[in-house]
């Protein structure tokens, strides 16, 4: 497990995933959906950090959002796999 950060820096064994943003997060960064390459074994937290690096406005929002992997709410330390659909979800307000 401890080798993953090393792998990331090399972008070795990357996996292709779909990443989605909704609601205020979508508006904030102007991205609703994109496909991208991520280092194999990245955690969802690491995926978020990549986007926060690209869109600094996201920084600080992690505490007020949840993340899903393949349409199930997921813990931030869940690791991504090829073909995953990852979504960053602000507090829900349906009803």
């Amino acid at each position: 497990m401890s080798g993953y950060n090393f792998c990331m820096t090399q972008v070795a064994n990357s996996v292709r995933v779909k990443v989605l943003f909704f609601g205020r997060l979508r508006e904030l960064i102007g991205v609703a959906e994109e496909e991208g390459e991520l280092p194999e074994g990245s955690t969802l937290a690491q995926v978020f950090e990549r986007y926060a690096g690209r869109f600094p406005k996201l920084t600080g929002f992690r505490a007020s959002m949840v993340v899903s992997r393949n349409q199930e709410f997921a813990a931030w330390d869940t690791r991504v796999a090829a073909g995953d659909e990852i979504a960053f979800l602000p507090p829900v307000s349906g009803g």
Binding site: T43, F73, A75, T78, P91, S93, G94
Partner: protein, 154 residues
């Protein structure tokens, strides 16, 4: 009691026909229907609302709605369920969500309907944006519960 296949679970972009949904869950073997009809309020935190827009992570929203319906079938002696949420632009007074539950005994229908709307509001990925005369805001909302992090992820 009855398989979820007879239920109606949907996201729609047109007006919700509440009477048709009530008719769909109505059956001679039941004794009652409890329905919740949620519609667009004319104000929010004291500001006059002009209209709302709802968006959803549609496939996941349907997954979560089906989970709720499966839960209420498991936990309560109910018969049929309709659970429909509307997306897009909604005017004041228009129905945004409608849940109807039929059951042989009303207590189960009340409990199931209330659990369903409470849980929908907490767990289904749908977002509401409120439009006022002088701007728009995303409604506060609730953070859905998430699974605890594993120490050793797979």
């Amino acid at each position: 009691m009855t398989a979820i296949e007879a239920d109606r679970i949907a996201l729609v972009r047109e007006a919700i026909d509440t009477a048709a949904l009530e008719a769909q869950v109505r059956d001679g073997q039941d004794g009652g229907i409890v329905a919740f009809d949620g519609f667009v309020r004319n104000q929010s935190h004291g500001r006059e609302t002009r209209y709302l827009e709802y968006e959803a992570y549609e496939p996941m929203a349907l997954v979560k709605m089906k989970e709720i319906v499966a839960q209420i079938h498991q936990q309560h002696r109910i018969h049929r369920v309709a659970m429909v949420h509307r997306l897009g632009r909604l005017e004041i007074g228009e129905t945004s969500v409608f849940i109807a539950v039929s059951a042989p005994h009303r207590g189960a229908a009340f409990d199931a309907c209330r659990y369903a709307i409470d849980t929908l509001k907490k767990t289904v990925p749908i977002w509401k944006k409120e439009f006022f005369a002088d701007g728009a805001v995303w409604a506060d909302g609730e953070l859905p519960p998430t699974p605890p992090g594993a120490k050793t992820a797979s």
